[in-house]
């Protein structure tokens, strides 16, 4: 019973997160300016991180947690580097 409830919840959650990633991808391709694309990339990183956590619940292994942590770290670094690039025109001065 509880396994069935969890299976349905994880499936619905993954469908929602995939739709969210599709919305972010739409903004990433469409976005009229560069800052919209960077914002969409940041949101896409968050969607991918949450998707990995739901995969961890589905398979019951904590291995996916490390991947989610690495994605969170890379999302912060890449978004702040891209914002600095948009501001200054170079990343490392």
């Amino acid at each position: 019973m509880s396994a069935a409830i969890l299976l349905w919840a994880v499936t619905i959650s993954q469908i929602f997160l995939a739709l969210a990633a599709l919305c972010c991808g739409f903004r990433l391709f469409r976005g009229p300016r560069a800052q919209d694309r960077v914002l969409a990339l940041d949101a896409l990183y968050v969607c991918a991180m949450l998707m990995l956590l739901t995969f961890g619940i589905r398979t019951g292994s904590t291995l996916y947690f490390e991947a989610a942590l690495v994605i969170a770290l890379l999302g912060f670094v890449s978004t702040s580097a891209l914002a600095k690039f948009l501001m200054r025109g170079e990343v490392i001065e």
Partner: protein, 136 residues
């Protein structure tokens, strides 16, 4: 999902609720990212996914693994703290970069440098005259 067969029913219901809540809020934020019409409105919507979206899924994951392994599993708190600390920093950097670019291009939607400077100097002048409004 055979590893979840001996999970108690209340824990399964709570984990399911937290998962659907978190992913639904993330989806709402992403829909806002598509539908809102200016960058300065759009920059607010993904934070729905980074606050309660991430929080709901992380709480569900913590509860699930704690019940499965029979001991408190709290390492998801690392992601929660990290996302909470870094999201305002990155989005503020991005919004300031966008504001700088819009001002450099003299976009009429944002206030210019001189308008902001005049407004702040008016405040300073009013403050020096004992709070009386300045006669022009």
């Amino acid at each position: 999902m055979s590893h979840a067969a001996n999970l108690p029913l209340w824990a399964a219901l709570l984990v399911a609720l937290l998962l659907v809540l978190g992913s639904g809020l993330t989806l709402l934020g992403a829909i806002g990212l598509v539908r809102l019409d200016s960058f300065y409105k759009r920059v607010h919507s993904p934070t729905l996914g980074t606050t309660w979206g991430t929080g709901g899924i992380l709480l569900g994951s913590m509860l699930f693994f704690s019940m499965i392994e029979g001991r408190p599993v709290l390492h998801e708190l690392l992601i929660a703290v990290f996302v909470t600390v870094t999201t305002p920093v990155t989005l503020m950097l991005l919004a300031r970069a966008a504001l700088y670019r819009d001002r450099m291009e003299k976009n009429p939607e944002v206030p210019t440098f001189t308008a902001v400077a005049e407004r702040s100097s008016e405040v300073v002048v009013k403050g020096t005259k004992n709070g009386e409004p300045e006669k022009s």
